[in-house]
């Protein structure tokens, strides 16, 4: 990354406390994310990584500190920051196609245009055949494809992914990860991914921010330099990279430190 790259996200001294200040979830975090970077927040359960992401989305307010995306302070949720949730959030009363249209409808995109775009996005997430199905007829992986298409169809400047594949079985998660690589290559969106899956973070991210457990602070902030800026369409190519196994071992060591409270 060059130093003069546009900063997509600027987090300054953000702290989030609950219960009238008795519990600190996020403690004085500062970090910048340059444009088009895929940044993963990794850490043990309860480390505040999801809280941090929700503050980026504007779903929660920092107790102290400020968050700015593309020069604009975050004061609440907005379509400039698209979010994909771990829970299935496709609206059950809309078909897959109508779900993808929903966000564009909110933005006032005319019917014909949004339908065409929605079809394109369903194709992008390999779901064209299910365009007219309701979410109750779709598998978990397919529901997440709808959620991803719906979010990207709004063309957000920042993509926030909150453990989007956490509820999926291993094979589907793997398929989804490879699909995300395709999407990152085409869209080049600034992305923040929250995950506790170390392999997923290494595979998808350009950079990993590792959180300490309660209160959540940044333990380590490392670039995935061993990938030399490449993204691998197939996961096994990544596994074959020199340096991969060291990275994974390092992350697991940090995870153990945090879990065992060393």
């Amino acid at each position: 990354m060059s130093d003069d790259a546009t900063l997509a996200i600027e987090v300054q001294n953000v702290t989030r406390r609950y219960m009238g200040g008795k519990f600190t979830a996020v403690d004085d975090i500062s970090l910048d994310v340059p444009e088009a970077q895929v940044c993963a927040f990794v850490g043990p359960s309860g480390c505040g990584k999801t809280t941090m992401l929700r503050m980026l989305a504007g779903l929660e307010e920092p107790t102290e500190g400020s968050i700015v995306t593309y020069g604009r302070p975050v004061l609440g949720p907005g379509p400039d920051r698209g979010m994909v949730f771990q829970a299935y959030t496709s609206f059950p009363w809309l078909t897959a196609l109508q779900n993808v249209e929903y966000g564009m409808k909110i933005l006032g995109v005319p019917k014909a245009e949004r339908e065409a775009k929605a079809r394109k996005w369903l194709e992008e997430v390999h779901l064209s055949q299910a365009a007219n199905s309701y979410p109750s007829e779709l598998s978990g992986g397919m529901k997440q494809r709808v959620a991803i298409a719906r979010t990207l169809a709004q063309n957000p400047t920042v993509l926030l992914l909150d453990e989007p594949f956490g509820a999926l079985d291993a094979q589907v998660r793997w398929e989804m990860q490879e699909m995300m690589i395709e999407i990152f290559e085409v869209e080049r969106k600034t992305t923040v991914l929250v995950t506790h899956d170390v392999q997923e973070a290494i595979y998808l991210a350009d950079r990993i921010v590792f959180y300490t457990r309660t209160p959540g602070k940044v333990k380590q902030d490392i670039l995935m330099d061993f990938k030399n800026g490449q993204r691998f369409r197939q996961k096994e190519e990544l596994l074959a990279q020199p340096g991969y196994i060291d990275m994974e071992r390092q992350l697991f060591a940090w995870m153990r430190e945090e879990i065992q409270g060393t």
Binding site: G58, P79, M83, F85, A87, T89, W93, G103, Q154
Partner: protein, 295 residues
């Protein structure tokens, strides 16, 4: 081979066949079991069971009639006599007018209650401060017995239709509000958050997300509460009415005409079942996305 009838093991799964030494032997011919855990019935089977159950009910009724000593049989008329009485009342006594009046009382008061309870329940379900403001009074009011309002309403309105509608209204409104509040609060928070991150406005979320998501449950609550409306109707018409099914039954009671009383009970039962079916059909056609799918 017939369908697997083992409680858990599906057809074709490996079974503990003979020749495996100690332990209970499983000879591949499972015993017929009618009480099987975790075993759904098909809609056809459910229909058979339902018809059989109804048939048994009428059979016991019929038997009760014939087992009663001859002189007392008119106090337990047989099903045929009761149905015959319904027909006779309809032809000779303009019974359908009374049925229509009762039905109108239930429907008008019930939908008036819904017209208030649905918006109020949704409003409280969406905004916690409004819930804190309104709900204590409404939820406390559920413990006031609606029948105890009859004297008050009689003083206020006299034995008029207004009085009757008011009682039926009071009988269901507080419970409806409580149920619809629950239905609204049961909507997944993540749906609302997803809509917020897409930039939906507050009104777009309340009307377009929360109400849409809660509507099947709301219609279900209405279906359950209209049964309560029928209960209050009878109380009301027995106490203070000149017309309606309850009034017909009360008059019959004075002359010990048990067949008419039972015809009234049966009529209300039938109307109750019909309103229930109407709500189920409404739900089926309004919410195609919510239909239970096989498998």
């Amino acid at each position: 081979m017939a369908q697997a009838t083992n409680p858990i093991r599906p057809e074709g799964a490996p079974s503990n066949t003979a020749g495996q030494g100690a332990g209970p032997r499983y000879d591949g011919r499972p015993a017929k079991q009618y009480l099987r855990l975790l075993t759904p019935v098909t809609s056809r089977q459910a229909a058979y069971y339902g018809v059989a159950g109804a048939f048994l009910f009428f059979l016991i009724w019929e038997a009760g009639h014939y087992l009663t000593p001859e002189g007392s049989q008119r106090f337990l008329p047989s099903p045929q006599i009761v149905v015959g009485t319904m027909v006779r009342l309809t032809v000779e006594k303009n019974y359908l007018a009374d049925v229509g009046i009762s039905l109108a009382r239930v429907l008008i008061s019930f939908f008036a209650a819904c017209a208030i309870a649905v918006p109020l329940g949704v409003f409280m379900g969406c905004f916690a401060n409004m819930r804190a403001f309104i709900n204590p009074v409404f939820s406390g009011a559920r413990y006031l017995p609606a029948a105890s309002f009859i004297p008050l309403l009689l003083v206020w309105f006299g034995p008029t239709d207004t009085q009757k509608l008011a009682l039926l209204f009071l009988g269901v409104i507080f419970f409806l509000v409580a149920l619809i509040l629950d239905n609204t609060e049961a909507v997944e928070k993540s749906l609302v958050e997803a809509a917020l991150t897409m930039g939906a406005s507050r009104s777009q979320i309340v009307m377009g997300v929360v109400v849409r998501a809660a509507s099947p449950a709301i219609v279900d609550s209405m279906r359950n509460m209209i049964a309560v409306s029928w209960t209050y109707l009878v109380i009301e018409e027995i106490v203070a009415a000149q017309d309606g099914i309850g009034a017909v039954m009360m008059r019959a009671g004075r002359f010990l005409k048990v067949d008419i009383i039972m015809a009234g009970i049966l009529t209300i039962g039938i109307l109750g079942v019909l309103t229930d079916i109407a709500f189920r059909l409404l739900s089926y056609y309004l919410f195609p996305w919510n239909r239970k799918r096989p498998g």
